[in-house]
Symmetry: C2
Subunit: 384 residues, 2 copies
């Protein structure tokens, strides 16, 4: 089977934006085509990753409008929704479109417009969509995160400070990302003294509410060099669900979807976790970076916090995690986030990450929907 190449990528400024979803999607789509030097006429499939533009803005049905806005008609379009992992699901759909031979040029654009809603409203919408059962009992995603963090700290005898250090690291990385919502450092005291949201987690343990979009252009590897000398291949990709109801999970500190989706991706790429040079993890809450770094096999179970303490995941560490700043400082526009994770991975493996650049041939991106309900894992290898 022919491998799938990424030949262009873009992301917009993340943060509080004036534009609505349709314009945000068009901005990233145009920038991505420009990045690759490809005409919209060449686009055969156009996918939109978006979680909740209906709930947030009262407007869905945007893929056909985007085909118009990009002058990409008659490209085939569809919207891919997998709650907060819609972006990763979009990457998987775009990959499938090329790998199946259905398309020879696929543009994926992920985006979300959220900041016109309050944090409480957005949190409410997200929980009602991802956890309708537990939502009725008052649980939201931050609640799950607090309960899980408490469990993790107790079970693995980890200090509260280690969670704070995830936020400090990712904010430090975000300083060098011109697209990040927060381009400023925070110190550990600021994190540890910020207001409690879901004990033991505090405000700075959480990602913000964000507007933004990101895009990728994919084609068969056999034609990639017609467009560029430097591209990435998606050498591995996989997706999996975990139980819909969180309390049914045997171990709340393990995300089965991360384990299963990464096993698929490693097998396809014919590598193991020890071969990954840099990773973008779904740090919607600081605790999630620990869970994923363990469930992906980077560290033993219960040891992820030590890696952060020891600087292993710093930009100059052995396995840099979230060089982009992560969802924590870059922001988390739901449908865009999984696409933006692959944008950063692409930039790293083609050597175009600027001041964030690390030494990386292989990058991994892990995008989590709900509270681990559905996960996609994508592995990229640079071809220079």
């Amino acid at each position: 089977m022919e491998r799938v190449a990424i030949i262009g990528a873009s992301m917009t400024q993340f943060g509080q934006r004036e534009e609505w979803i349709r314009d945000l999607l068009a901005e990233a789509g145009i920038a991505c085509l420009d990045d690759a030097g490809v005409s919209p006429d060449a686009v055969e499939h156009l996918y939109v990753s978006n979680m909740a533009s209906g709930e947030f803005e009262g407007q869905t049905g945007v893929p056909n409008a985007l085909a118009h806005d990009l002058s990409a008609v008659p490209a085939y379009t569809a919207r891919i929704d997998q709650t907060s992992s819609s972006g990763g699901a979009g990457v998987y759909a775009a990959w499938q479109s090329i790998a199946s031979g259905a398309s020879e040029m696929t543009l994926l654009v992920g985006g979300e417009k959220m900041t016109h809603r309050t944090t409480a409203e957005a949190t409410d919408v997200i929980a009602s969509l991802t956890h309708p059962v537990e939502y009725k009992h008052g649980l939201t995603l931050p609640s799950f995160a607090g309960l899980t963090a408490r469990h993790y700290l107790d079970k693995y005898d980890a200090p509260r400070e280690s969670l704070g250090k995830v936020a400090v690291k990712n904010h430090r990385n975000g300083v060098d990302n011109p697209h990040a919502q927060f381009q400023k450092e925070v110190d550990l005291d600021t994190v540890l003294e910020s207001p409690i949201v879901a004990d033991p987690l505090r405000l700075y343990d959480f990602c913000p509410i964000t507007d933004g979009s990101a895009a990728l252009l994919l084609c068969p590897e056999s034609v990639a060099r017609e467009y560029t000398d430097e591209y990435a291949v998606i050498s591995g990709i996989g997706g999996a669900t975990d139980t819909h109801v969180v309390h049914e999970r045997a171990d709340p500190t393990t995300m089965g979807g991360v384990v299963n989706s990464s096993e698929q991706a490693y097998e396809m790429a014919d590598i193991g976790p020890e071969d990954v040079d840099v990773a973008e993890l779904h740090d919607m809450f600081t605790i999630l970076e620990f869970l994923q770094s363990e469930d992906l096999g980077f560290f033993e179970k219960g040891e992820g916090w030590k890696a952060v303490e020891e600087g292993v995941t710093d930009r100059d560490g052995e396995l840099p995690i979230n060089t982009s700043g992560g969802l924590k400082s870059k922001g988390h526009p739901l449908g865009a986030s999984g696409v933006a994770q692959v944008y950063e991975s692409y930039k790293q493996v083609v050597g175009d990450a600027g001041p964030r650049q690390v030494d990386a041939e292989t990058a991994l991106a892990c995008n989590v929907g709900g509270f681990g309900n559905c996960v996609t894992t994508t592995i990229l290898e640079g071809q220079l």
Copy 2:
């Protein structure tokens, strides 16, 4: 590339249902697995086709819940939305999942719950999602249909009665479909004397508002015979958009998405329109059956109405169209419709269509989103 087989199919009773979207989807999903004799454990990818459960019910994020309800966790899930062609887009996504090698067993379930909303409310939601530009000026999909019908009748000198005969034919076919919303004949006078909705179209020129779901089970053809002696292959499939704004189309009686998507499907199947034995067309409005039967190449442009007048598209005609009763009498639960079209096509080519059975080796299904904004065409061949 390996061909993709359909080894099981189901559809629920269409009509006014008490169940909500989650239960409707589970009903079709369970019935489809039962039909194929496949355990939910074997499902690797699970796709949900749904247009607007958020707008209609305030609940999206259903794929993960469905994985739970079917005991299919850790199957990968995603929701595919392409407005009223979400079902066809789901078929395309499911096909890609198998053809790309990402999955060896994919369950697609399409569904919609609509009848708790009034026809006016549902029509308003649909137009606001599919045609946000023209919607602001008061146009809905029935408006487009009326304008197009008037144009067609004038341009091709077709009698108003020919449109009514589409409704009469499809209602007659629906009598033999136990899942159809309306299992009763209507005579031409009833159609022609029903209340005007969008002149010249009257109530009986329109499909109803419907609840329901349908499902398909797909796997690589190489393993299909492990499950069944009679299956279908998706020998051709394609998708395409037309202009987002309807008034930008050069000829309002041609649907570019139908032309482009069917050209892709014919090319993949290595057949032409003359090789199709039976077809399910998207007769949301009677006029659409004329347009599609011409744009698919079955009849010359402007001649589709004559085929209906002459009985060519009757069940005992040369090219039976909408043996299921079509959207017109079977009903049109948006996200389910494209899946149910392929359900009928599958039943016809494996010889399991009961009293609706025609002599068919090759079947075609054409699913239209919006007013031709995005279209998928699927060709099935029976393997007995």
